[in-house]
């Protein structure tokens, strides 16, 4: 496969996993938790590197999951101690991220890890960092790890589909019929963490936030069906990846920045023109209903 094909595949995989996880994120009103986790994942990666002195996939994933869960736990416990939810998120992730940046700039500076990379990713280098796989041949490391993550996300999402739906819609009722709501919360936080870390290496922290929140929010404006919303969100994520890539090549600019920006364009179009909940449709409907008499 060609160089740009690998990059497009990588970014599409990011778009799909983030698109799926993102739908649950916004329905659970946890968009800013994604912002938090995608930042504190950095600390997890740095600590895993300092402990093992290697930047291999599995160590990074373990470090990231721990960092993500620690973030979720800390936010929760500060909140229980009376700190406002938002403030609690703000304290936890800025602190963990700051520690990560300090560790990079003092201890891990010479390594492959650097600050710039962590924010913007280095998708341009991805095709060169390859592994040999049986039958397939030489494949970029990031493609392998992103495929595994996408599989995990799909599996966990589909196997517990109705439980995710119920705990997102009505957690109190879910708890009352015996679904372990807290456990599912932390499983979900782990999903966000592994998605973040896999995408992080390719596109950087901020781009993860864009891919997690924006396509799902756009999809939310198009449909009232959860399955449709999931499919749309994935497609928007992939579309943003492609649009972003070609815009970046055309303008010779940051690929991950352009992809994040592309998610914004897709959202903007949906915000204005989505047939169900876009502002044009809304405007038209409110006019129509003003003409009619009020119904029950």
């Amino acid at each position: 496969m060609s160089y740009s094909a690998w990059i497009l595949l990588t970014a599409s995989l990011v778009g799909m996993s983030c698109g799926l996880v993102g739908v649950l994120l916004i329905l659970r009103r946890m968009a800013m938790m994604a912002d938090a986790i995608s930042h504190s994942v950095l600390l997890g990666i740095v600590v895993a590197y300092l402990v093992t002195l290697q930047l291999s996939g599995i160590h990074m994933f373990i470090g990231a999951i721990i960092a993500g869960l620690v973030t979720a736990l800390l936010v929760q416990s500060f909140h229980q101690l009376g700190v406002q939810q938002e403030a609690s998120i703000g304290i936890v992730f800025t602190t963990l991220f700051a520690i990560g940046v300090i560790l990079i700039s003092t201890k891990a500076g010479n390594a492959h890890l650097d600050i710039q990379h962590s924010l913007m990713g280095e998708i341009t280098f991805i095709p060169w960092n390859t592994v040999e796989l049986p039958f397939v041949g030489s494949v970029p490391m990031a493609v392998v790890s992103l495929s595994i993550v996408l599989l995990i996300v799909l599996l966990v999402l589909l196997l517990f589909y109705k439980e995710w739906k119920l705990t997102s819609f009505d957690p109190v009722f879910a708890a009352s019929i015996g679904i372990p709501v807290t456990l599912m919360h932390y499983i979900f936080m782990s999903l966000v963490s592994i998605t973040s870390v896999a995408a992080f290496d390719a596109v950087g922290a901020i781009m993860v936030v864009a891919m997690l929140i924006t396509p799902a929010s756009a999809a939310y404006l198009w449909t009232d069906k959860l399955p449709t919303m999931l499919v749309l969100s994935c497609s928007f994520g992939v579309a943003a990846a492609w649009i972003g890539y070609y815009v970046a090549v055309w303008l010779d600019t940051s690929i991950s920045g352009a992809m994040a920006f592309a998610t914004g364009i897709i959202f903007l179009i949906s915000f204005i023109a989505a047939p169900r909940y876009g502002i044009i449709a809304k405007h038209r409907r409110s006019r129509a209903s003003a003409a009619l008499t009020e119904h029950a």
């Binding site: 997102s168 109190v172 009722f173 009352s176 019929i177 449909t223 009232d224």
Partner: protein, 250 residues
């Protein structure tokens, strides 16, 4: 219908206390409820009515006390309990329709790793029909009126086919038609031997709707059959002087 439990009491609450942050909202609440009764929980704002239900169902931590349902602790009795939370507790913009929400009532029975089958759908549809809601089955839930949303919630509880039902302000902000349907349904549940407890706000209708009353203000003020308990004197003790309507009643 013959009750299988060898206990005479459907619900036993013994010295239950609960706190919100550092403030105690329920203190030493004790009462028992007979099977096949329809009880309203009545009290002023902040009396802990919702918290009482939530802490009985272990949705809010208790600081002390025990509760048993049909002679069993909550964890064992869970499958026999239906709960209808306040309507305002969920996001009605959620991408789902009325039928789907009713189906959620069956998730506990369907079990992990399985999807609802056709028979489950039919059962959910039947519950919607009994609430007069079948024509709204495929409507997105934010496009239902407040009363219709409440009927969907009640239909979801009905498909659970529980022995005990707890409803948190089911009549808040609903239209007259919905109020009638909900109260008829609760009456039918009672007639079939089910035990129902309802957080109720409108003092004017308590005597018409319920056979038992639990007057609550952070602890039990009075509890028993409506005609014995729902008196001006007891209401005065529950509400303090803050109740104008009561004076008119006397």
């Amino acid at each position: 219908m013959e009750r299988v439990s060898n206990m005479n009491e459907a619900i036993v609450v013994n010295r239950l206390s609960a706190a919100y942050r550092k403030t105690e909202v329920l203190s030493q609440v004790s009462f028992t409820v007979k099977p096949g009764t329809l009880t309203s929980i009545v009290g002023p704002n902040g009396a802990g009515k919702s918290t009482l239900i939530k802490s009985m169902l272990e949705l809010h931590p208790r600081t002390a006390g025990e509760v048993s349902f049909l002679g069993q602790p909550y964890q064992k009795a869970k499958k026999k309990i239906g709960y209808v939370p306040q309507r305002g507790s969920v996001d009605w913009d959620f991408p789902t329709d009325a039928l789907d929400v009713v189906l959620m009532g069956l998730y506990g029975k369907i079990g992990w790793l399985k999807l609802p089958r056709k028979s489950d759908r039919e059962q959910a549809m039947e519950a919607l029909r009994s609430m007069g809601m079948e024509q709204y089955a495929n409507r997105q839930i934010s496009q239902l009126s407040g009363g219709q949303q409440q009927r969907v919630f009640l239909a979801r509880a009905l498909v659970q086919d529980a022995e005990l039902y707890f409803l948190d302000e089911p009549l808040a902000g609903v239209d007259a038609a919905t109020e009638r349907i909900i109260m008829d349904t609760l009456q039918q549940l009672k007639n079939r031997g089910r035990t129902v407890m309802v957080v109720h706000h409108d003092l004017q209708t308590v005597e018409d709707y319920y056979d038992h009353v639990l007057l609550l203000n952070r602890t039990v003020v009075a509890h028993g059959p409506t005609d014995e308990v729902f008196t001006a004197e007891q209401l005065h003790r529950t509400y303090g002087g803050a109740l104008r309507w009561m004076r008119e009643k006397v």
